[in-house]
Symmetry: C2
Subunit: 710 residues, 2 copies
């Protein structure tokens, strides 16, 4: 994008973004009213969008033909619409043998790359989730899109899509004045940041009706995107299909921490399906109702987000599209992640480490690094609890698509679930050195029991501002008994003890003071005053040594949308064979290719059968997935068919094989062929398939062979 001509065309748009970005900054600095800031941000986003659209339109056209690619994906059943024979359901797709194998390969690679290599704790949690969990996470209240309904037939429309389509039509109409056109365009770019009321006003102003029927529309409705169901037969336990996998990890935090022997940091991971009831799914695999995610939740000390392996990625160069650059109308920039963290552009090492690893992973599975950038959320986009968030975006024919999110979610999730359940989701942190603290407790004199249960002690300690300090070891011995209280209060003794245990900090101090001053303390028990003396109760101050403090870990969350990544990989690897427009194929990296190797007997000759059989067995033994194509048709046509399903290597058995026990090995992208002894083939193909050996090595070691005539 450094073409001077292009830059010339973009310059005024860049300037317009920067002007507005500066305005937003100055409004924020001057503490302007929220509404003013919000309006300015909407305008900023609009200008940004115009700039980005222009930028994309100026990229030299690489003759990408989406229809042609979709035809191939459908024809060779990589994926296709679900339940098509029943008319199909939008936003749902079935992966056929090729898509399924590719997906399984991607997930296995993900597991090796993240779970195994980083020693993460992988879990596999329930999809059906009871309502209170998603109430705490915020999804019940906030996970919604705006829609309107046709007042007569009930058809639903996503509000922003409807307005956009209507205004684009209005602007195209014959009588449209330049002013009207400009107004429409202006609204369309601002739609993304609009409130419900603003959109409702537009519906009214332009008198927008339901498409096709021209019926009236309802007021905008917030439609929650979760699929609801009932768990169990009573119909009383409301549940949802999870909209993300992350909550399953958070609710298991205590078990995971314990599994990790109480130590921080650690990361948990989960691969699984999630569901969103999109109002109008579109764009193939990009916006669907059912999808596979792979999520990581890295739990760490809020005060120490350094990452022990950060130095191993420090020199990885990423395209970073910072919030700052977005406000200044600049493009993404190539930055070493080490520098980005040092400069504070990326909030901390752990976030930076994962960004670099995400980049490495995406490139490994076939994303074109030239079509990959990390876009930082601007402060107004970010969830209120997040500290910093970068999306890995892939450039596709649908524009830049968010494929992986990488956010520092602070302590939000654990705090929410702690609030909702009363179960403290926290970890202990060793203090640099043990500390001695004062503790105040009450004892019944002459009882053999401490009247406070462990839970009560914790509650009490919390009251005494030592929340976050876990009590350590020696609770001083007390040798009183309940005798005195029991003797005096008989049946009410229990209530008296309970009332004592329920006293708050002030209450206990009051008690100590009154006993000291008057030797009598008046306690209210179920509305009745009861008099207690030093015989009944005593307050002691004592000291305690603590070794750890309690902290609520922060969470760094890399979250992968597997379907979206697959779609980007398809686009980035869709190729046409030079000189033959009709021969299309996918140049998928061997690591994710559905099959690794094809076996093609030159013709239907019985002498080839045992050779094919032996090779098949040997390759399968080495876990190399293969496809034997012994159908009729020239070798050339069969190669074309295996290229279509991205098989990177092909072995051809011909008459020379019978003589010298060698066969031809062909590489898909280069169409180069070498001749290799049968005995060496399985290991070589296995090594090529898992990336342990490169094609160039093999090519240089073995004799070349010209292309077999078709």
């Amino acid at each position: 994008m450094a073409d001077p001509k292009i830059e010339e065309a973009l310059a005024p748009l860049r300037a317009a973004v920067k002007e507005q970005g500066d305005l937003v900054r100055s409004l924020k600095q001057s503490g302007a009213p929220d509404l003013d800031v919000k309006k300015a941000v909407v305008e900023l986003k609009a200008r940004k969008k115009i700039l980005e659209d222009k930028e994309l339109s100026l990229i030299p056209n690489v003759t990408f033909d989406r229809a042609k690619m979709e035809d191939l994906l459908k024809r060779r059943f990589f994926f296709d619409q679900s339940f098509a024979i029943y008319g199909g359901i939008t936003g749902q797709f079935d992966f056929g043998p090729m898509g399924c194998a590719m997906k399984a390969n991607m997930l296995n690679t993900w597991r090796s790359f993240f779970v195994l290599e980083e020693q993460m704790l992988e879990v596999d949690c329930s999809i059906l989730t009871p309502e209170p969990v998603l109430k705490a996470s915020g999804h019940v209240d906030r996970f919604a899109d705006l829609m309107v309904k046709d007042i007569k037939n009930g058809n639903c429309f996503r509000l922003d899509h409807l307005i956009k389509a209507h205004l684009e039509k209005v602007a195209m109409e014959k009588g449209a004045t330049p002013e009207l056109k400009a107004e429409c365009a202006d609204i369309v770019v601002k739609l993304d940041g609009m409130t419900k009321d603003e959109m409702a006003a537009i519906l009214k102003k332009f008198n927008i009706k339901a498409p096709l029927t021209n019926n009236d529309l309802t007021e905008p409705i917030e439609f929650n995107l979760m699929f609801a169901t009932q768990i169990g037969p009573s119909g009383l336990v409301k549940g949802f299909l999870r909209p993300e996998t992350a909550q399953g990890i958070f609710v298991n935090f205590k078990r995971l921490l314990e599994f990790n022997q109480g130590k921080l940091p650690f990361a948990a991971a989960q691969i699984g399906n999630a569901f969103r009831n999109e109002i109008s799914p579109r764009s193939g695999l990009i916006r669907v109702r059912e999808f596979t995610m792979a999520e990581i939740e890295h739990f760490c000390d809020p005060n120490d987000k350094a990452h022990p392996k950060f130095d191993t990625v420090r020199d990885t160069t990423l395209m970073l599209y910072s919030a700052c650059n977005q406000m200044d109308g600049k493009s993404a920039e190539a930055v070493k992640i080490g520098d980005a963290v040092d400069k504070g552009l990326v909030a901390n090492q752990t976030l930076g480490y994962f960004m670099a690893r995400i980049h490495q992973f995406l490139v490994k599975v076939g994303v074109d690094p030239a079509k990959l950038r990390f876009r930082q959320h601007m402060s107004n986009e970010m969830a209120h609890y997040a500290c910093d968030c970068w999306d890995a975006e892939c450039l596709t024919s649908y524009g830049w698509v968010e494929c992986v999110g990488c956010a520092d979610r602070s302590a939000f999730d654990l705090t929410q679930h702690t609030k909702a359940t009363g179960v403290r989701l926290a970890a202990e942190k060793k203090l640099p050195e043990p500390q001695t603290i004062d503790v105040v407790g009450m004892y019944h004199v002459e009882s053999y029991e401490l009247i406070l249960s462990a839970a009560a002690v914790c509650r009490l300690m919390a009251k005494f501002s030592i929340l976050n300090i876990y009590y350590g070891c020696h609770i001083p011995e007390a040798q009183p008994n309940k005798g005195a209280v029991g003797k005096e209060f008989k049946k009410e003794a229990k209530q008296v003890m309970d009332a004592l245990a329920a006293l708050d900090k002030d209450g206990v101090e009051q008690l100590a003071k009154q006993l000291a001053e008057t030797s009598i303390y008046t306690l209210s028990v179920d509305g009745k005053d009861v008099k207690l003396t030093k015989d009944h109760v005593e307050v002691k101050k004592y000291q305690k040594t603590v070794h750890v403090e309690e902290i609520t870990p922060n969470v760094i969350e890399p979250s992968f949308g597997i379907g979206r990544i697959m779609y980007a990989i398809f686009e980035h690897n869709f190729k046409t064979r030079e000189g033959d427009e009709q021969r299309t194929f996918f140049s998928l990296p061997p690591v994710v290719a559905p099959y690794k190797c094809s076996l093609l007997p030159l013709m239907n000759n019985p002498e080839f059968i045992p050779i094919i059989k032996k090779l098949s067995q040997d390759l399968i033994q080495l876990d190399v997935s293969i496809k034997v194509d012994d159908s009729a048709g020239s070798i050339g046509r069969r190669y074309a068919r295996t290229d279509e399903i991205a098989i990177p290597f092909g072995i051809t058995i011909d008459f020379d094989t019978l003589k010298d026990a060698t066969a031809t090995l062909r590489e898909r992208d280069s169409c180069q062929q070498v001749r290799i002894p049968l005995s060496e083939l399985p290991t070589i193909v296995r090594d090529l398939a898992i990336g342990r050996r490169q094609w160039s090595e093999v090519e240089s070691k073995y004799p070349k062979q010209g292309e077999v005539k078709e």
Copy 2:
């Protein structure tokens, strides 16, 4: 179970079963009324259950302590109840790091064993399924359990569980007469085969009320076990979470057949989650609401169910518990699958092949072959469409548990979906030799077009009883034009042509006859009579060569319940270290063990760190999952901890390692240890982990080492 004492105790029970089995047989043979047969079968099942319960109670107790095992599973987070901090949901479980890794290993093994080795077409289909699909499959109408509700508070009870609990209580009460006790016991064993009305009568007779509240109960209600939801925002598209993965394969049959280039047989496979809204889930992982299945649908010619690889399994011995043995009160018998198929005990080679492969797979992942049997469905248990069905059952502390079903489902599923959609889910079968058939067709004379579209030809051919015969090649040339019809009927020409095309077989023959006899044919067009002559239309008989016939494939379905298999594996591999009751562990086969190898530095010595690091990297490079345990604690205690999570191999680094670059390798089950050079360790452990090398080989090759003192 061949202990003579045990057999003595079982003999009368066996005889009772046989007596009733013979009665059922004779009733069937004599064509007795259905109701009589049904009643006899219920009694047969009851006797069988008494026999089986007795058999199980007589198995020598192998001191299996379920509570102890469950404690270990929970403590080391193999799995645990979902959403426990929110109070939990019954019938839902989360797999922790150990359970998740084991599950992933099992599924990968399954994929290698079946998909890769058998070249199956794996798919990954949607979970959310629209109602019509499950209507066609029978789930909407028939997938239900009976329940009753507390009339006041709405609490639900599974009817059979409720009756059983009540009658067991009644029989235990003080005043219970021997007659009453016998009646209760009799009902309890017969419950499984009872109808809704029979159970309703029992509710009434015993005046059964809701437990705890003692409120009245509703009449029995059929409760559909599928989770319902709405797809899309309108609330109009009803959907369910799939209750099995199989339907996703059936609705994709055409695409899969095409992917397989139209050839039969082929198998499709799917791994994924399914959901059943159990009324009262119980027995841990055995009856849950959300579970992972792995299903295979093998499509084959209904007239040829031979399997090309059957000879490779012919000698595999399975414990077969045939329907016949069940009716005769006999036990399961060890039979070679080749003999079972030859004798007709197992219906066909393909079914037998899969049974053998299921057996091999289960044993490979850790099922104890002594606790595995294949039980044949008796004709009254089998779905009406199935030809034969064998369940692989594992013996657990809950009794024999069905873990894998293996059924010949005939053409049921494809036929149902064809009926529901009008899309023919069928395949072409090459005829042994081309056949010549007569075809009757109509042509407009002097037109250049054949008036019948290809679809109409097909319809026509179907009418002429050549359904199932696909038409072959040469449609004889016709050189008429629509002129005559057009001239005469002008605007109505199209209706005339349509009416002609819509004629059924009789109509066309009538037309031919009338034209031949009277030269005029009267056609009714939209209620109006129209006269046609030979100028307008002509009927020709011609011959056609066909090469293929159309068949609806049959389906052999092996269906694996992954959670149940895992549970059986846990039970079969739960061990106590001899001499120490407290040291429990799982002797999981390396192939499914969560981690393959532990790395234990003898103590916290900085000199060990680089060695551990290097070994870790090398092992991870070879895809060996590891756990480093550098915590304090003796080696013995750390071994015990790694044994608990089933790590099969452990490497200990000690001071000798620093001197001679060797380390100790320990095997979990035998506790034997050998000393191996560091450089050789990674490959050896990798080979052991994937089963390429056996421990005995390693043990004999390297010097032994005594157990490290704890």
